[in-house]
Symmetry: C3
Subunit: 396 residues, 3 copies
């Protein structure tokens, strides 16, 4: 634990404070606030790696509300909560009375009487996920203000229609450690590129999260996709502004090969075009199964025109010294492994497979850091207390 | 925590003891036993509000067995268990082998080897829910007596076909605090009235729970419903006897307006007629889908005759000084919010919305108190120990 | 706690070590290793029975992966984990992204970043369950070796296609206590026999587990089934070898009556023939519903020829002094209770019902012992520390 105090100094030096602030979009946070989360995540990892308990809650609930399937994020959230001493209780809307027409504001209060944190995944409906989280937040504000709730639970966005901050922040922590520091990212080129997938309707939140976050750190961010596969215009605007402010670059192009040129990092991942997601949202909301089938058919046909958007050996050679870091939020569509033709060739994926697992391994700590900084005014004090008490996580 | 010792004195003064006694029906409990639960609930709330851990279990399981959907009660049970240090394990009958024809007495033992408390919701089948809980209790008695179980887990009724004690007790605690004491309830008029709903088959346990409990405290209880919407006759008899014994009143009428007159509290809520629930139970047990559809149609048509049974501004004006407290177990069918025509107008619900949330907020503490008094012989001692140890719930 | 130190001596005297070793098949373990698990299970039971906390984890996750329905084992696993301080997180494959074609090696790592133990039930596909567990183990080995995982979680087999070690070890502990010691089992005759059931497709793992384990302790094991209902040949071979090595006997016969002769213990339980399970596995994997229906029909017709394979009073009289111990893993198909004609008559089952419940009650402790011995190098030290610290499980 030599560098634990060094880490605490870094935490302190951010002078940032996320106490009581929901974590919904990375671009709502200052750079210092983002760094605060990164350093706290690293400190928590140190504690656990040294078998020191990080429990700062003796009891308390953490609600998970997954409106879409999830493995990684579900387990990351559960891990983070358990690490801090919170017990996860799943809000399974199918088993609840919410179907009876209960309002969001009511449910938000009903689940929060003894709740410290609420994690929400809502990425299916464009224009809905982020709005839903804001609505929950407003309801909690009212409940707290009017004496319904003894405390106002925090909210962590576990993926919405706009951003996927626990993913992008874990990715950032991976990059920081891979390249040896946040300052080392300045000037590095990261290519966030569309890739072919035999499925459709994949959310936009990962590519949006990446371009929205990596532009904050002076990186050269290139977004590449086949014509028509654009993202939400507002987020692209945000990325542009971020790049300008941080002394980085942001560029959009329409060729995977072009975008791979000189790249230090590539992030090839499929998504559905913004316009398709808009149509899909309307069809989903209308429950129009026929319409959804037609849309899927049409989209898959369109996807199929871009099967060459696969991250393979040949394209990887175009990157900087042929050695760019490959990233993915997982699971990837791997050619000949999980599908016949996919986002990445088996060879390239295998080469970077362990790296992608390590990348994923930061997520539980990022979530734990988001929870800790939301619930505690003085994270340094809490981390110090934990370290000094030295209670073993596993009996020794 | 000034009034914590005052609260403990109140707990002590009840001289009541619920140690090892299942909490199934409020009318099986003495008035002192009911007060014991109320005061312990308040003491637990005080501890939590002052960030003092209420964990009196270092480990142990709490089984939840929800045979019907639930949000509020599910989360209340989970909150209560977590508060005391028990981990909830859900008995999901769909995922178990119970479908294989396993007997209740066997399942009851199989889930109880390390279990401290079992919470059951079984409100679908008239004549079945309460019976099921008794059957589980008998099986646990046998298992404990014959050395299968090291301890006999307690049972908390989370809603049956007859009573909904965690709801009615939370409602009672709300009334106690709203009016400034249990003694203040004497002579107050509470109107438990049927209200129109566009759905059918709502359980009888809430109105039955209310008339069965509020008649214990010298209140003037009026039950009102359209002809034909009567409750289980036995429970109505119980309410009558209770009122007599406590110096209160109990009256049944068939007009919402009449019942609202001079009311201090109104509780307008839909339910299905007793006779319909009897038919429905038979059809459900027979798996007769056609029959159920016909019954629903017929009932909804009948319900529709009583759309004027809506709690609106005009009717609220009839209540005492036009200022009666509106109560509901939630979720309510709110006209123009959750349905076109419902139990309550949007304006009235909005006026009392926060009050209904506060009402709901007592449930986790009521359940926790039911668990604590079931598991500990000397609740005062436990509460004192918790208070004196002063372990923080959230690290400070 | 007089005999706690005696128990610890027994634990020590095994000189066995299961640290970091997955528990998949009992015949992969030495006799001393099996005894280690038994004694640790008993020590944990003592602690709990004396209200001493057995928490040796301050936090940490235990993943349960049930690929088939379960009540007993699910609750036993949850109980065991809670006893030791681990929180169960269910890997529900229906709610995960695994359906997207994610590989086993990837999922295994994704759920393990903060995981101490993984319990797996996979008994549906012959030739698949055990293989799946090995595959998960390999993936975890790689993840740990390559720095993805900070620790390598242990695996406990909660039932596979070959063995059901938590069941057979609980059965063994029951026998040990029933007869007064492991040494008392030498020479005792246990009859593992097929019995009629009106359902089909029951796994082979219980009979296989029993013949594979009980032959380790010098018992006379007789396996009896109607012609055609054989088990996996490899396992039968293993049982033969075990019997030889331990100075016991192993015999296969085709008559329930013959097998009951002179038996000290009978274990009548239905299973599907090995050859049928092979066909069934292929049909399941092909998703051939018609084929599965045909197979079921054909098998049930075949089963029906052997309705006389019922454990009834008459047959029990054939056993040693008519007093053999009846065992079952539960739930049993009980004639006139859970079905019209089944594995056991109501009278016999009722006579031994409580004994079967007691038998089942060992499972949580067996699982806890498997976890503890997997995660701690020095179980004696841990058990001593727990005992000496004397922290109450329930506040006293």
């Amino acid at each position: 634990m030599n560098n634990f105090s060094a880490l605490l100094k870094k935490v302190k030096s951010t002078k940032a404070n996320l106490y009581g602030k929901d974590f919904l979009l990375t671009w709502d946070k200052s750079r210092n606030e983002l760094e605060l989360v990164l350093y706290v995540a690293e400190a928590l990892k140190q504690l656990r790696d040294h078998n020191i308990s990080a429990k700062c809650f003796d009891s308390g609930l953490a609600i998970s509300n997954f409106r879409d399937n999830s493995t990684r994020t579900r387990f990351s959230f559960a891990s983070a909560c358990n690490l801090l001493g919170l017990e996860v209780q799943d809000l399974d809307e199918a088993k609840s009375q919410i179907a009876h027409g209960e309002t969001v504001r009511e449910t938000a209060n009903m689940i929060s009487f003894m709740t410290d944190i609420i994690g929400i995944r809502d990425d299916m409906f464009l224009g809905a996920g982020h709005t839903y989280m804001l609505e929950v937040g407003e309801a909690l504000n009212e409940g707290y203000k009017k004496g319904v709730l003894a405390q106002r639970p925090g909210i962590v966005n576990l993926q919405c229609d706009i951003d996927h901050p626990t993913q992008s922040m874990a990715d950032l922590l991976h990059l920081k450690n891979y390249f040896g520091g946040l300052d080392k990212l300045k000037g590095k080129k990261i290519t966030m590129t569309w890739a072919y997938s035999p499925s459709y309707g994949k959310p936009l939140s990962v590519p949006q999260g990446i371009i929205g976050l990596m532009t904050r750190f002076g990186m050269e961010v290139e977004l590449a996709y086949p014509e028509g596969y654009s993202l939400i215009p507002d987020v692209v605007e945000t990325a542009k502004k971020n790049a300008k402010a941080s002394g980085g670059k942001f560029k959009v192009s329409n060729s995977m090969e072009e975008a791979f040129k000189n790249a230090d990092i590539v992030y090839p991942k499929s998504w559905a075009p913004y316009s398709v997601m808009q149509k899909r949202t309307k069809l989903l909301q209308a429950g129009d199964k026929e319409g959804l089938k037609d849309l899927e058919k049409q989209c898959l046909a369109n996807n199929a025109k871009f099967k060459n958007w696969e991250c393979d050996e040949k394209k990887m050679k175009i990157t900087k010294r042929g050695k760019a870091l490959y990233m993915h939020c997982l699971p990837a569509d791997i050619t000949d492994v999980s599908c016949r033709e996919g986002e990445v060739s088996a060879k390239i994926f295998e080469k970077y497979r362990i790296e992608t697992y390590i990348e994923a391994g930061y997520k539980p700590y990022i979530i734990a850091a988001m929870i800790l900084t939301n619930r505690f005014k003085y994270p340094v004090k809490i981390l110090k207390t934990l370290c000094n008490s030295g209670i073993h996580r596993v009996m020794a």
